[in-house]
């Protein structure tokens, strides 16, 4: 069913005389689409892109061949960043002092040297996770191609079998 213009289009500039534009639009819709059904996008095109499917997570072919792949990649990416340890102490009374001294010592002795290395390693981890994720995408694309080819081959084989059976009849 064709949607009505007034349900779909919103014109906020009053100088454009929205009502007049909507009426013209509705008239065009009625003229061009009278008696026609709306184009069926719900059942055509790649399933992943059909209306209503955009954010539906369905197991990909590659993920089916390698269970847990997507979860593993998310987990890897979530763990790419190295964290600085935070000093704590459960020692009563002087605990805060111990933490302060250790933090101060860390700041003076190692922070400026170790921290850039932490960032460097985090950067390497991030890049590694990105590359692996790209490889997983590539694998999914290849898996989709293979599935499409298998489907085609099956159809061709069926046609061939039919032709052969007709030939021998």
């Amino acid at each position: 069913m064709i949607s009505r213009a007034i349900d779909v289009i919103e014109i906020r500039d009053c100088e454009l005389q929205p009502q007049t534009v909507i009426e013209r639009l509705q008239s065009n819709l009625e003229q061009r689409w009278a008696g026609k059904e709306s184009v069926d996008f719900v059942h055509s095109g790649p399933k992943a892109l059909r209306p209503g499917h955009l954010m539906q997570v369905e197991p990909s072919i590659a993920a089916l061949n390698f269970p847990g792949l997507n979860e593993a990649l998310i987990d890897l990416t979530l763990h790419t960043q190295l964290d600085e340890p935070q000093f704590t102490s459960t020692v009563p009374v002087v605990g805060k002092l111990i933490v302060a001294i250790r933090s101060l010592w860390n700041r003076v002795s190692t922070k400026w040297y170790v921290l850039p290395m932490l960032w460097q390693q985090s950067d390497v981890n991030t890049r590694t996770a990105t590359v692996l994720s790209s490889m997983a995408q590539w694998q999914e694309i290849q898996a989709q191609h293979t599935a499409a080819l298998q489907h085609k081959v099956a159809k061709l084989e069926a046609r061939l079998a039919k032709l052969e059976s007709e030939e021998y009849r």
Partner: protein, 358 residues
């Protein structure tokens, strides 16, 4: 005062990079000492921008102000979290991870981390969104409303004025006399480019076969791009839909100047700079009413609220063919550009700085 800016990447022609440079120029003009630090520094920015690691030397400078631009997860967020400087966050929005789950787990995870960390930044002294939509997201993430504001993107037309279109491309785009539809931006799932393609299909097959759709923007979600190309093939639009990939500035200007209509079907935008660019180049905008899009357009352009593919395609046809309507829409878009003048952004920046006694 010493005011530093920290960001994810600085490159020529990028909206956030331009914004950072414009802020820097204002701060200098107002007498402050400034520096820009960035995770990625494109070769053309060397000299103007320093690598983010250089900011480490300023971590203990408690009398300075650090402005952090947050648009994507970057490990340098830790510098913002650990600095002793006073802290101002500018949030440019991070796309919700749900748009990427089925397409790219790596990007989905990065969006997730980015949004999780946003909540941890709520203890900064003041935070700005570049739209009220972004400001509302800050509040939802735990920022106190009275410590938030809106700083619109600094719109400077100098860049476009100084950038000539590629003459060969522009004439080839105009040569055939086809009606050119344009959509610009990263080819990512939240932009719902499949809807753009479907609306164009209706227009091309039932209204005007002499038409082309140009999808301009970087393509890094490979599986999504692949599926869009399958859709184009299934609809028999090989010759009518062009995926250009990322283009040079001269080519981008040529695409805008040769465009008859800009269509945006995006489900999620924090600001949407291509809408502004379309207004600047006099291209009528037809856009989905979602997230920050209506705010950026103001009363300009035309919105669609649902699909309605046929109704949207017919509206596109009116915007292309009805010259009187088209010119009125373009004039309103130009007026909207004036409302988003740099002076308005300057005032908002001054207001934000006043929270730091500057």
């Amino acid at each position: 005062m010493r005011i530093y800016q920290l960001t994810n990447g600085m490159m020529y022609g990028d909206a956030i990079s331009n914004h950072v440079l414009e802020i820097d120029a204002r701060l200098r003009a107002w007498g402050h000492t400034t520096a820009i630090f960035s995770g990625y520094v494109a070769p053309e920015m060397e000299g103007k921008v320093r690598p983010d690691k250089d900011y480490v030397a300023h971590l203990n400078d408690a009398d300075s102000l650090l402005i952090f631009h947050y648009s994507v997860y970057n490990p340098n967020v830790r510098l913002f979290q650990t600095t002793r400087a006073r802290r101002l966050l500018i949030y440019h929005n991070i796309t919700p991870a749900r748009f990427f789950y089925k397409w790219d787990t790596g990007i989905a995870a990065q969006c997730d981390i980015g949004r999780q960390i946003l909540r941890q930044l709520a203890d900064c002294e003041f935070a700005l969104g570049d739209s009220d939509f972004n400001r509302q997201e800050l509040i939802a993430a735990g920022f106190s409303p009275e410590k938030t504001g809106v700083l619109p993107i600094f719109l400077t037309t100098d860049f476009f004025e100084s950038c000539a279109p590629d003459p060969g491309l522009k004439s080839s785009l105009r040569e055939s006399g086809d009606v050119n539809w344009l959509t610009v931006g990263r080819v990512v799932p939240n932009k719902a480019l499949e809807d753009v393609i479907r609306v164009f299909y209706i227009y091309n097959q039932y209204i005007n076969p002499a038409s082309k759709l140009y999808i301009v923007g970087s393509q890094y979600v490979k599986f999504y791009v692949e599926q869009l190309k399958v859709l184009v093939a299934d609809l028999g639009l090989h010759d009518q839909v062009v995926f250009t990939g990322r283009v040079s500035d001269a080519d981008l200007v040529a695409y805008y100047q040769a465009a008859d209509l800009y269509l945006c079907a995006s489900y999620h935008e924090g600001f949407c700079v291509p809408l502004i660019e379309s207004m600047y180049f006099g291209v009528p905008v037809l856009a989905r009413k979602s997230t920050a899009v209506p705010e950026t357009l103001g009363h300009a352009g035309v919105l669609f609220t649902e699909l309605g593919y046929e109704a949207v395609a017919e509206m596109a046809h009116l915007l292309v063919e009805d010259q009187a309507l088209r010119q009125r829409v373009i004039a309103r878009q130009k007026a909207r550009l004036d409302e988003l003048s740099p002076q308005r952004a300057e005032a908002a920046l001054k207001f934000a700085l006043s929270h730091f006694g500057i």
